[in-house]
Amino acid sequence: MKLNTPIDKEKLKKLKSGDELFISGVIYTARDSAHKLLIEKINNNLPLPFDLNGAVIYYAGPSPTKPGNVVGSIGPTTSYRMDKYTPDILKQGVAILIGKGLRGLLVKESLIEHSAIYCAALGGAGALMGSKIKKITVVAFPELGPEAIFKLEVEDFPVIVVNDLNGNDIYECH
């Protein structure tokens, strides 16, 4: 299935764990340190660097872009490290999370509660994932280096649905 951002959560209902999904539009990276800072902003009612409603968050930190290239390598990082922050992020209306690896129980419950899904990108395939990106810009926390929040303009960015809205999990079905 193909989806454009911002995501209409109604469309996520049709997706099943194991489905391939191609996302086009804008997605934002955020990993450990960016999550910590985002949550601080949320808790203090400060403006956020991007609109989280209907957003897609990709747990990733790119390698630097070579001159003449669009982007460096940019595959997913392991998701469980973001588990602690995820329920609060989902409350803001985020629709799709992308990373790799199993999520904790609280995250799975929170995904269903907020009608959001979790998907996996190919781990260790940063060069391939980078080839689906048209443009990359830093939108927040540049001081974090690779952990900054990057805005990625993507076309048919390929992911696999891990946790669907019916509570299925591709990592646990076999």
């Binding site: 390698s63 460096g72 390598s73 595959g75 076999h174």
Partner: protein, 280 residues
């Protein structure tokens, strides 16, 4: 006396760091190919095809196979009859690593302090293990080690009565817990023996066993094969989506230990195998 210039060491390390991160070895490409043939289900085959395609895109564009270009782990093996001309060897290693990560557009993934977590900006420091040898032998092994797989590693001071079965169960449980996190198909390095700090290093060295010139020991090969078969029947599969290829290899290194101890360490590497031996 063998004389090697300080600059030659810097340049070789810089070039090797870039090469291991951007150019897949033919062994790695072959591992993808045989795993594709070996899998039955379409999703696993497709995942493996994509991993192979990724490695080829990286090589063609000289960009990293994986964005986590790792911590640089350096094994320095140097004989007493080797002289480094023009500088201090550890400084040459630091400079080679710094230049490699900078000029190769590799990701800087090291924070200077594990609590305050400010990025050092140059991927320094590397982790250096020095081994002083006899004669004029001089080689440096470099390993770019990603954190997703490193984080899934484990160490246990087992009881001698746990024996071989206990060791195998510990490996199986560790790999099972790791699941999709370390980007399978993985390589599992197992250290058995030594002591607390020694066994961790054994497990790390096991990950590069293929370039260590260690004579084959059939009894150890049998254990490695048995564990590998057990792990590949866990149905973790490429990227954890199920399948027959959860691990590419299991490598074991053993050393003597105390009568009261059975130290076991498991160091996990992802499918992106990145190491090289530089011989001077």
């Amino acid at each position: 006396m063998k004389k090697i210039s300080y600059n030659k060491i810097i340049n070789s390390i810089r070039d090797s760091i870039i090469e291991i991160n951007c150019v897949p070895s033919s062994e790695l490409l072959n591992k993808y190919v045989s795993a594709i043939e070996n899998e039955d289900n379409e999703l696993s085959k497709k995942v493996l095809r994509n991993l192979k395609e990724n490695a080829i895109i990286a090589q063609e564009n000289m960009i990293p196979i994986c964005q986590d270009t790792g911590t640089a782990v350096v094994f320095l093996n140097i004989g007493t009859e080797v002289v480094i001309e023009g500088g201090y060897i550890n400084e040459a290693i630091f400079e080679g690593v710094r230049l490699g990560y900078q000029e190769g557009y590799l990701r800087k993934s090291i924070v200077g302090n594990p609590i305050s977590r400010i990025n050092t900006g140059d991927n320094l420091p590397p982790i250096i293990h020095t081994n002083i040898l006899k004669g004029d032998i001089f080689n440096i092994i470099i390993l770019a080690k990603g954190a997703g797989s490193e984080n899934m590693s484990a160490l246990k001071m087992m009881s001698p009565s746990d024996g071989l079965e206990g060791i195998k169960n510990f490996v199986v449980q560790t790999v099972k817990n790791a699941g999709a996190n370390p980007c399978p198909p993985i390589t599992v390095g197992v250290g058995i023996g030594s002591n607390f700090e020694g066994v961790a290093l054994l497990a790390k060295r096991a990950l590069i066993k293929d370039i260590l010139d260690i004579p084959v020991d059939n009894s150890i090969t049998a254990i490695e094969t048995d564990i590998k078969n057990k792990l590949n029947s866990l149905n973790i599969g490429p990227q954890g989506f199920g399948g027959k290829t959860s691990v590419f290899d299991v490598a074991i290194l053993m050393e003597p230990c105390h009568i009261a101890s059975l130290p076991v360490a498991i160091n996990i590497n992802c499918h992106v195998i990145r190491h090289k031996k530089i011989i001077f």
